[in-house]
């Protein structure tokens, strides 16, 4: 077989594969670089964002959420909590009314999330995995694929 044709076929396959990964980017859950936490499971991330896990030892966990107009929010709620935005909002409305917790603090963008997490030892947030590169003061403890 012509080597040139083989190279074209392999290149095309590689391109298609990278394109398919670009359609479903990974979500990175990040904590402060000084946090004692080195790894989180999806279940633990879910418990943090639904307010049932609020302490890491003696440190109060401070979760940061993203604004509902950010596509990553919908993806994070779907992948980690298995619910939609409306259900999540109703859940926290009820929980706050019951006096059973404080909802995650909402930030406008991933950049704001990274800044907030870098400032507080108990902070946790989520961003696209591709946005972690170059960020300071945070570390990735969980990567969530589709």
């Amino acid at each position: 077989m012509n080597i040139k044709k083989i190279l074209i076929a392999v290149s095309t396959l590689a391109f298609l594969k990278s394109y398919s990964y670009g359609v479903s980017p990974e979500i990175a859950v990040v904590v402060n670089e000084n946090s004692a936490v080195s790894k989180l499971t999806v279940t633990e991330a879910r418990d943090i964002y639904n307010g049932t896990k609020t302490f890491w030892g003696k440190v109060r966990i401070k979760p940061f959420d993203q604004h509902d107009n950010q596509p990553i929010r919908k993806e994070f709620l779907k992948r980690a909590l298995k619910i939609d935005s409306k259900t999540y909002e109703m859940y926290w409305l009820k929980k706050v009314f019951q006096g059973e917790g404080i909802p995650p603090t909402v930030k406008k963008t991933s950049k704001d999330v990274l800044e907030a997490v870098a400032e507080d030892d108990g902070a946790v947030g989520y961003i696209w995995a591709s946005e972690v590169s170059g960020s300071r003061g945070v570390k990735v403890v969980l990567t969530i694929k589709e």
Binding site: D47, T52, K53, T54, F55, R60, K82, D84, K86, T87, E89, M90, L93, K94, V96, F97, Q98, G99, I102
Partner: protein, 367 residues
């Protein structure tokens, strides 16, 4: 009365605004406007009419990493054209860890599921109204839905299920009548207790990991209830309440159910039998496209009576009789913070009240 309301609101706003970092949007609330037409022979709803529901304002705020407060005011009309301000909840709590939080103040009684999940927030509940036996004390409710005391609660994670628990030690209720000796209602004794007895209440709910949205549990309370007429002790009861609750709130199906037994023993008259009455409901709804939820509910109250003896003295004092009610309705979530509801209610009370139908439309919202 209006001056008193304005004064109270001013004081509350001042107190909240004097706390550092309290912003306007930390004050949250619920409200509803309802149209009601009933075939009952009462003036309020016989001709059909619009009514303001409860205007519920609350603040839930962390003072620091472990201490938080909650305050809830409800402005409502008792039906005489005036409006009153009720301090429904005022509590402060300390979180030791996820498995233990201790609170004190005026709280929702932890019996069952509905009372702590929905309470004054009509928007939160699928239906327009509460099950009749879970009505608030000043609206004919037969269970103590508020209490003042100490509350320990928490969540324990196991490999298979979460366990939510709560235990309270609080003031008991009393049966209070008006100056004419009529209109008996439960009073949760918010500013002091009329006797030494402090009921202990508990609630345990299992929420299995394998079925998100599902919970099943047990609750109960044991204490004394005294009743007074013109300041004279007319009822004294030992009361034990036991309840079972189960719920599934995953979409699209919602199913709720609670079953209570209320055992009352008369301490005023020796050698009288005890009475164990029952009250329960079951409700089911189906959510379509995150927009429309048709639902049905059946409720029943069975008041125990013993041949040759008066019916249960507790229920007699509160004017509650055997009854059952069937409700069919639909909820439409027209926005993320407001819902329209319409219901047809069919009530049958085994006293002079008899049978009646009620037609209800409600616009409820949260802010």
């Amino acid at each position: 009365m209006k001056k008193q309301i304005r004064l109270l609101l001013t004081i509350m706003l001042f107190l909240f605004s004097s706390m550092s970092n309290v912003r306007a949007y930390d004050l949250k609330g619920f409200a509803d406007i309802t149209y009601n037409k009933s075939t009952k022979n009462n003036l309020e709803n016989k001709n059909g009419g619009f009514g303001l529901g409860q205007y519920d304002l609350y603040v839930s705020y962390p003072l620091d990493d472990r201490i938080d407060i909650l305050g809830e005011l409800v402005i409502e009309s008792p039906g005489d054209g005036e409006f009153v301000v009720d301090l429904e909840r005022l509590q402060i709590g300390y979180t030791f860890c996820d498995a233990l939080k201790v609170r004190t103040g005026r709280i929702h009684n932890i019996l069952g599921y509905w009372n702590t999940s929905y309470h004054h927030g009509a928007y939160l509940q699928t239906s327009a109204g509460r099950p009749s036996f879970l009505e608030f004390e000043d609206e004919g409710g037969i269970l103590p839905v508020h209490t003042v005391g100490i509350w320990a609660s928490g969540r324990i994670n196991t490999n298979f299920t979460d366990i939510d628990y709560g235990v309270t030690v609080a003031n008991g209720s009393q049966i209070r009548r008006d100056s004419l000796g009529a209109n008996a209602a439960l009073d949760p004794n918010s500013i002091g207790d009329n006797d030494r007895n402090k009921p202990v209440s508990f609630n345990f709910t299992l929420a299995p990991d394998s079925l998100p949205g599902f919970g099943i549990g047990l609750s109960g309370s044991n204490g004394h209830v005294q009743g007074f007429t013109f300041g004279i002790l007319t009822e004294e009861l030992s009361q034990t309440i036991l309840g079972w609750h189960a719920f599934y709130t995953g979409k699209p199906v919602e199913i709720l159910g609670e079953y209570f037994t209320i055992k009352n023993e008369n301490r005023l008259i020796a050698a009288t039998p005890s009475f164990t009455s029952k009250a329960y409901y079951v409700q089911a709804g189906y959510n379509v496209a995150n927009l429309v939820t048709p639902y049905v509910r059946y409720e029943q109250v069975d008041v125990k009576s013993v041949a040759g003896v008066s019916p249960d003295p507790y229920f007699s004092a509160l004017g509650s009789a055997n009854s059952f009610r069937t409700i069919g309705g639909v909820r439409v979530d027209i926005s993320s913070r407001s819902a329209l509801k319409a219901e047809i209610r069919s009530l049958n009370v085994k006293n002079a009240e008899g049978k009646s139908q009620e037609y209800v439309a409600q616009w409820s919202f949260a802010f």
